[in-house]
C-alpha cells in the first residue's frame, strides 16, 4: 500500500480570464510531486465543488483577480462543507486586500491566502503540513 500524492484542484472562480498565476501555481505544485487537476477559467462554485468531490482532492486552490472574492470564496467554502468536503484545505490567491484576507481566513473557512510575489516554496510547505495534519485526523 503506497501513499498517493497530494491531490489539488486548481480553479478560477468567476469571470476573469487571467490565469497566469493559477498556471504558475499548478506547475509549482506538480514539480513538488503533487497531482494537480486544473479546471481552467470561468468556474462557478457549484462546478468547483462537483470537481473537488469527483476528484477526491485534499486541497482546493482558487485564483481570483476579479474583485469578487468576498462573494465567491465564501460560497465555495460553504458549498464544500455542505457536500461533506469540510476536510479540504482551501487556499486562495490573487488580488485580495489585507482586510478582506483577514475576514476570509477568520470567518469564511479559507485556510490561507497568498498575494503576488509569494515564494511558491512557502505555499508547498503550507499545503504539505496542513494536508498531513488533516490526513492524520481523518
Amino acid at each position: 500500500m503506497s501513499e498517493v500524492p497530494i491531490r489539488v484542484l486548481v480553479a478560477k472562480p468567476g469571470l476573469d480570464g487571467h490565469d497566469r498565476g493559477a498556471k504558475v501555481i499548478a506547475r509549482a505544485l506538480r514539480d513538488a510531486g503533487m497531482d494537480v487537476i486544473y479546471t481552467g477559467i470561468g468556474q462557478t462554485p457549484h462546478m468547483i465543488v462537483e470537481a473537488a468531490l469527483q476528484e477526491d482532492v485534499d486541497v482546493v486552490g482558487l485564483s481570483i483577480l476579479s474583485g469578487a472574492h468576498m462573494t465567491l470564496l465564501p460560497k465555495v467554502s460553504t458549498q464544500l462543507r455542505e457536500a461533506g468536503l469540510g476536510h479540504c484545505v482551501i487556499v486562495a490567491g490573487g488580488i485580495i486586500p489585507a482586510e478582506d484576507s483577514a475576514l476570509l481566513t477568520s470567518q469564511y473557512g479559507i485556510d490561507a491566502i497568498y498575494g503576488p510575489g509569494t515564494n511558491t516554496d512557502e505555499i508547498v510547505a503550507f499545503i504539505r503540513a496542513t494536508v498531513a495534519a488533516r490526513r492524520a485526523t481523518s
Binding site: M1, P5, L29, R30, T39, M47, L53
Partner: protein
Amino acid sequence: MNDATVQQLATDVRRGDRRALARALTLIERGGAPVRSLRQALSGYGVGSLVGITGAPGAGKSSLTTVITQELRQRGMQVGIIAVDPSSPLSGGSLLGDRIRMYDLAGDSGVFIRSMANRGQYGGLAATTLDAAMLMRAAGFGMVLLETVGAGQSDVAVVDVADTVLLVEAPGMGDEVQSIKAGLLEVADVIVVSKSDRADAPATLQQLRALIRMQMDADDVWSVPVLPVSAVQHTGVAGVVDALVGHAQWLQTHPATWRQQRRQLLSLQRALESQLRDAVQQLPGWTTALTQLGQRDSDALARQLLEEFVVSGFTKE
C-alpha cells in the same frame, strides 16, 4: 482502513453515492489489501461497457469524449469518464488538464469525471483503470469512457483493458502516421476521423476505409466502422454513439476469443512484472543499487539485482 469500512464503502458505491465512489477511486490508486476486498465486493455488479479512447496527442480525444458524453446523456445514460494524463518523471507529480476541455460537462450530476496520473508505469495503470472502471460500473454508469494519454507503451496497455477501442485520427496526418499506428489500427473496434469540418478530412476517411477493408475476411468478425465526426459543428456524433452501443451489443453475442486470450496473457504479464518489481525492491541490494544510479549501467544493475533475487529467493510480504 479496516475491512468493515471497505465493505460499507462498497455498499455505498453500489447505491450510487458519488462521494463514496470518489473515495473508493482514491483507495484503488493507493493499492494494497483494501483494493482486493473492494474487487471481491463489487466484481460482477453493473453491466456498463468500458470504451477506451485513444489516438495521437492533439487528435481530439477530449473534445470527442465530451460530445459523446453529451449524446449519451441525451439518450438517458449515466456516463463515467476516466481521463489519464502523464506523470512527471522527475517529481512524480502531474498536471491533469482534461477537465478544461470537458467544461460543458461540469456540473451535470449524470456524469462523473476522474483524472488519473499514469505514474509512468506500464502495467500499473492498466490495473488501476480496470479497477476504476469496475467501480464506476458498479455505481450504475451505463458507459465508462477511458481517455488515454495518447502515446507510448502505457497507451497500448490501456487499450487492452477496454471492451471497445475507439481510435481517433485527425485528418491530414499522412502515411507515416498510419504506419506508426498500425498496431492500434489492428485493435480498434471503431475508428473516428475527427475535425471532419476540415477540407482534408474526406481523404483521410477514404484512406482509412481502404486500409480496414483489406483486413476484413470473415463473417463472424466485427466490421470496423470508420466514421467522420466534428466536435465543433457537432456532426456525426450520433453515428459514433450508435457504433459504440452496437459494438457492446455485438460483444454479447460474439465472444471475442483471441482478444480475451490476449487480455489474459497481458494480465499475467502485468501481475508478473509488478510482483517481480516489488520483490526485487525488497532486496538489500536495491538500496545499494539506488546509490549507484548514474555511475553504473542500468542493465548491469538490473542483472545484478536479478541474480541476488535468484540466490536469496522469495520473501513473502
